[in-house]
């Protein structure tokens, strides 16, 4: 049994002459919270599109959730969850309708959707607002609902795109606790962000600069390596 959720080697993506992602290699263990960082335009989004099966690598190889990123990219999509802060739920559908919609998209049976709905509503204490429009929920509730829905099909990996940038410090902490909980159950969490303070919550962090991974380690070791007090300083030293 493979103990890695993500394993890629020399993954490269070119657009014409431009190399957006340049020979990146890394492994992410099962149940790890992995931070994927980089400046604007460093290639994070392109790399993530390859990992989530949305874009075919120009060269290189690897597996995500046990599936080959080149041959089986359609299968990858069935074993991963995705959530971004910007868009995750349909605001003009109710809480329950959102759960049903995403359950349906991921191919759950009606029976499974009913069961999952009850579990999610119960765990997040949302039963009383289950027929309210998502638009009416406070941001913190929306986020945790979106996170729960991104795991409705029990994926091996959840990709989180800037999950807590700019949100209330208290809400952000509640959200990280939910992330810790999911990781504690063996789910791999892949966080892309350019908010450096989000990186401090991750087990390990990689930093991309101009298409390459220039650093990869625990936040503590990176701070030591770059003689920096915060991840912000690590980043600045690396990029400058």
């Amino acid at each position: 049994m493979n103990s890695y959720s993500i394993e890629v080697e020399n993954l490269t993506k070119k657009f014409g002459e431009f190399t957006a992602v340049d020979n990146i290699s890394f492994k992410v263990a099962k149940g790890e919270i992995f931070g994927f960082l980089g400046a604007n335009g460093a290639g994070k989004t392109t790399a993530m599109r390859m990992l989530t099966g949305l874009s075919k690598p120009t060269s290189g190889q690897g597996t995500v959730a046990g599936f080959n990123v080149i041959r089986d990219h359609e299968k990858i999509k069935t074993r991963i969850g995705y959530m971004s802060q910007k868009f995750s739920l349909y605001e003009d559908l109710t809480v329950r309708q959102n759960i049903r919609l995403f359950g349906g998209i991921y191919g759950l049976s009606n029976q499974e959707i009913r069961e999952k709905s009850e579990t999610i509503l119960h765990d997040l204490r949302l039963s009383e607002v289950s027929s309210k429009l998502v638009a009416a929920l406070p941001l913190g509730w929306k986020q945790r609902l979106a996170f729960a829905i991104s795991m409705i099909h029990d994926p091996d990996i959840v990709f989180l795109d800037e999950p807590t940038g700019g949100v209330d410090p208290f809400v952000r902490r509640q959200f990280w606790e939910a992330i810790y909980e999911a990781a504690g159950h063996g789910r791999t969490i892949f966080v892309t962000t350019h908010y450096l303070d989000e990186a401090e919550y991750c087990d390990r962090v990689s930093i991309m600069v101009s298409g390459r991974i220039e650093a990869l380690d625990t936040p503590t070791n990176l701070k030591k390596q770059f003689n920096a007090s915060t991840m912000d300083n690590v980043f600045v030293k690396l990029v400058r």
Binding site: N40, L139, D168, P169, Y180, E181, L196, T230, F235, V236
Partner: protein
């Protein structure tokens, strides 16, 4: 007379109270930070002060002019960088700058010394459409355009949101230079770590100002002993700590947990309450609070 003065200003949108009796004042040459999360009311205050929105109650003046009576005068004397990028995407860098100079009845050349340090960094790309710039470069262009008419007061609504750490640091260096030229700057940010770069800050949440002071004084007002704790299983440790009688609050803080206790305790005293066999790499140290600790403490009381 202060550059910005706000007295008991409130504003609602339907049932939502966006601003709840806000008061503050900002001096010329002062860099004043409005620190709070999304939805706190920061942008509403900016829109009132830049005369784009009327308050329901309260008074406010900018550069000595009342925001209702003398709104036309204010518009000539302030620079405003809204939260959303709002330059003309299909005009080039240079065309945008010239456009803003022209509508304020001036020229790029007349006030070039004010923007020189900033504009020089994007000048190599002056023929590029603004929509094709990177986040950091867009932000520098927007700042140049907000400064080209030599404003007395500068309003920057979340200028560093969505911008990478390097550009953020450069941006704050630029603000420091501008304030030394006597410009009053009101800047908002959701990044707590940027608060320490301001002369004074107001912490704002749900339309209310929680506290206003220098960053140093704000942090001093934190009421409890505070410890940073780390182990190989922070999440489990967090739950354990929350059940202890001595715990006032326990919250994740990146690699560490921050534990606030009701009374001062020795590190060994805390360790003695934990089953250390479960945490081989346990690390505990007393720490000084930062702005985010205080924000969390204050927002618990709201």
């Amino acid at each position: 007379m202060p550059a910005i003065e706000v007295n008991n200003t409130s504003r609602t949108y339907g049932k939502v109270q966006a601003l709840n009796s806000i008061s503050l004042s900002v001096e010329y040459g002062e860099l004043f930070g409005l620190i709070g999360p999304d939805g706190a009311g920061k942008s509403t205050l900016f829109r009132i002060l830049t005369t784009l929105l009327l308050a329901d109650t309260g008074t406010a003046s900018v550069a000595g002019h009342d925001v209702v009576q003398s709104y036309r005068q204010i518009r000539k004397e302030v620079g405003y960088m809204p939260g959303r990028f709002s330059l003309y995407q299909d005009l080039t860098v240079e065309e945008n700058l010239r456009f803003f100079a022209t509508i304020f009845n001036t020229t790029i050349e007349e006030n070039y010394n004010l923007i020189k340090d900033i504009y020089e960094q994007i000048e190599p790309f002056k023929k590029r459409p603004a929509g094709k710039l990177s986040g950091g470069m867009k932000q520098k262009l927007a700042l140049s355009c907000a400064l080209i008419h030599k404003p007395k007061v500068l309003f920057l609504d979340e200028p560093t949101t969505g911008v990478d750490a390097v550009s953020r640091q450069e941006f704050w260096d630029m603000l420091k230079n501008l304030k030394e030229k006597g410009i009053a700057i009101l800047v908002s940010t959701p990044y707590m770590d940027e608060a320490s770069l301001c002369d004074r800050i107001a912490l704002i949440q749900s339309g209310k100002i929680l506290q206003t002071d220098t960053p140093e004084e704000i942090v001093k007002s934190y009421p409890s002993p505070l410890y940073a704790i780390r182990s190989n299983n922070n999440y489990e440790l967090l739950k354990v700590l929350r059940d202890k009688n001595y715990t006032k609050s326990a919250l994740p803080f990146g690699e560490y947990l921050h534990l606030a206790t009701h009374t001062s305790m020795g590190v060994d005293e805390i360790i003695s309450t934990l089953n250390t066999g479960n945490y081989p790499d346990l690390e505990i140290k007393p720490i000084k609070p930062d702005i985010e600790d205080l924000f969390l403490e204050l927002s618990r009381e709201v």
